[in-house]
């Protein structure tokens, strides 16, 4: 089943430039989303060896609940964005769609792979195509931001390569399950772990590595900004989770908690002072990732569940906000806060719902995961809950700032929103409200994923035991 998904996706990327029709790429991404939904239904872990080789000798893709949940999220968001950018991108659209489907392949590959070097190769596909997309709009800001992102990104992915070669030197294998059974918690392994986590935390934009994001997002078109803030950060967090899963270190660790808290606060404060809408959303994405990293540092089942739930919600909200504001930028052509006022009630409702759920207002999905986060942090120590509440108060402040500047300012222009741009926004708004009102939908997706993360030997026996 996986080979058909990959065949369709690879064929789409290679044929869009030749056949010069973008619908192939959209159809391929949608097909991969539906097949991921189908994959999610069968309960047990499926293992697929490429070329028919058995796990430690060939490359293996392992579809346990966590990977399929992330693949579902990734392909879902990129299919919504593929539909949205059909109208949003006006020139050079074939190249845009080639790079978009390459990003989808990279994200899908990183989330489903069971081999550490294959993880690096797909992480590199993802990075190289996002370097190209960052420099898509080619004014001075984009070029400088793209070059900085390229330099920082390739240095950190080289750190990942050093970590991989250390692990190969120490254990002699490249397969996740084989590594997991051979790793001991002695010092050399900890240094390799540190390098790998540092490499992945760049994509997840944790504080020391977050500088590239605002400049990069300022230069990219809005749909790609949505991809960067929502799913490529989710992949960074997933990389950290998978590495800790291999090292069997999913327990209370104060390093992650402190990084999460710093990222949460710094991201929220910086978001408050921004003028450019895209930069503000970028910083807000950074602070949401701070929540997730803090909660993952708890290592408890409730912590992991709330972290994964917040990844899902953050992806939905950020994509909704970027697309809603993208419509504003598309119509007014400007990106600063005080120039994208619009007079259109349907858009007001959708972006309003997105902003409300960003700041965690009860009936919506942001509240559900924020509530889980507060409960998880209450178990560990009340101070963390207090900090989390302060950060979500700041989130409320800057989301109101966006709302007022877009819909309540005096100078608003009469607009008519094109259909293709508006349907994805409506779909995501309905999804946000649905998950907010019936949180059980999200839970029965995320509960098995959190359990899959916590017991490692089930994974090992599935892959190696056969």
């Amino acid at each position: 089943m996986i080979t058909y998904v990959l065949l369709v996706l690879f064929a789409a990327t290679f044929l869009v430039l030749i056949i010069k029709r973008d619908e192939i790429a959209i159809a391929a991404i949608l097909f991969s989303f539906f097949s991921m939904c189908y994959m999610f239904l069968n309960p047990e872990i499926t293992v697929f060896g490429f070329g028919g080789w058995s796990p430690p000798f060939g490359i293996v893709w392992v579809l346990d609940k966590l990977s399929v949940f992330l693949a579902l999220l990734v392909t879902g968001v990129s299919s919504v964005i593929a539909v949205y950018s059909l109208k949003y991108i006006k020139e050079r659209r074939h190249r845009y769609y080639t790079l978009l489907s390459l990003i989808t392949i990279g994200l899908l590959g990183v989330s489903l792979t069971g081999d550490i070097f294959n993880l690096y190769v797909f992480f590199e596909i993802l990075s190289v195509s996002s370097y190209a997309l960052v420099a898509f709009f080619l004014d001075e800001g984009a070029i400088e931001g793209a070059f900085k992102y390229l330099m920082v990104g390739s240095v950190t992915s080289l750190f990942i390569l050093i970590g991989i070669s250390m692990l190969y030197g120490l254990t002699g294998t490249l397969n996740f399950a084989d590594l997991a059974s051979k790793i001991s918690h002695s010092n050399p392994y900890m240094i390799a772990l540190g390098l790998l986590v540092a490499g992945f935390s760049l994509k997840a934009t944790i504080i020391p590595f977050h500088a590239w994001k605002p400049d990069a997002i300022e230069g990219t078109p809005a749909p790609i900004g949505a991809i960067f803030t929502s799913i490529s950060t989710a992949i960074g967090v997933y990389g950290i989770l998978r590495i800790l899963f291999i090292f069997n270190l999913i327990q209370l660790n104060w390093v992650l908690i402190s990084f999460g808290v710093i990222t949460m606060l710094v991201g929220a404060f910086l978001a408050l002072v921004q003028v450019n809408v895209k930069r503000m959303l970028a910083y807000s994405g950074i602070s949401q990732i701070g929540y997730i990293i803090m909660v993952i540092g708890f290592g408890t089942l409730l912590g992991i569940t709330s972290g994964l739930y917040h990844i899902l919600n953050n992806a939905l909200i950020k994509t909704l906000l970027f697309m809603g504001i993208g419509i504003g930028i598309y119509l007014t052509g400007k990106e600063n806060l005080d120039e994208i006022g619009m007079k259109s009630t349907p858009l007001l409702i959708c972006v309003g719902i997105g902003l409300l759920s960003l700041s965690g207002i009860p009936p919506l999905n942001g509240f559900v995961s924020k509530w889980l986060i507060f409960m998880a942090s209450w178990e560990i120590s009340p101070i963390l809950t207090a900090i989390a509440i302060i950060a979500s108060a700041i989130t409320l402040a800057y989301s109101f700032k966006i709302f007022s500047s877009m819909f309540l300012t005096t100078k608003r222009i009469e607009v008519k929103i094109p259909k293709i741009l508006f349907i994805p926004v409506v779909i995501l708004t309905i999804l946000c409200v649905l998950i907010g009102v019936f949180p059980q939908i999200g839970l029965n997706i995320i509960e098995p994923a959190a359990n899959a993360l916590l017991n490692q030997n089930q994974y090992i026996t599935a892959v190696l035991g056969g």
Partner: protein
């Protein structure tokens, strides 16, 4: 570029190409394979582009054809690698070892990979040289 470089490049070009194809074809017997072979072929074309200018190099291979060849060969590569367990029946490793046909699958994939590498590099060289 001046006349000396042009005559030398004109003389060397066929041998560079021949050597690149040789490395490509014998990827499974001798060291080297799809990447060194592809790079040597691309460097031959780059020599032509540098010394004779882009118009002459376009006569060797145009940019659009490079795109099309790269897309199609990549598709072929995807088909074989993804369905490798079936492809192995067709491209069975024949009994004879150390001859050209000893590993048809590795040979075929080497060729496809080499063509893709050389087409991609030619594209990048042409694009970076465009004024």
């Amino acid at each position: 570029m001046d006349i000396i470089v042009r005559t030398i490049v004109k003389g060397l070009f066929p041998f560079i190409m021949l050597f690149g194809v040789y490395i490509l074809l014998h990827g499974h017997l001798t060291p080297g394979g799809s990447f060194p072979g592809g790079v040597i072929i691309a460097s031959g074309v780059a020599l032509i582009a540098i010394s004779f200018g882009l118009r002459k190099a376009e006569r060797v291979i145009k940019e659009e054809t490079a795109h099309i060849i790269e897309g199609l060969v990549a598709l072929l590569l995807v088909l074989i690698v993804l369905f490798e367990s079936f492809a192995r029946y067709v491209l069975m490793p024949t009994g004879m070892v150390f001859e050209l046909w000893s590993a048809p699958q590795v040979l075929f994939l080497n060729l496809a990979g080499g063509v893709m590498v050389s087409m991609a590099l030619i594209l990048i060289i042409f694009l970076l040289m465009k004024e």
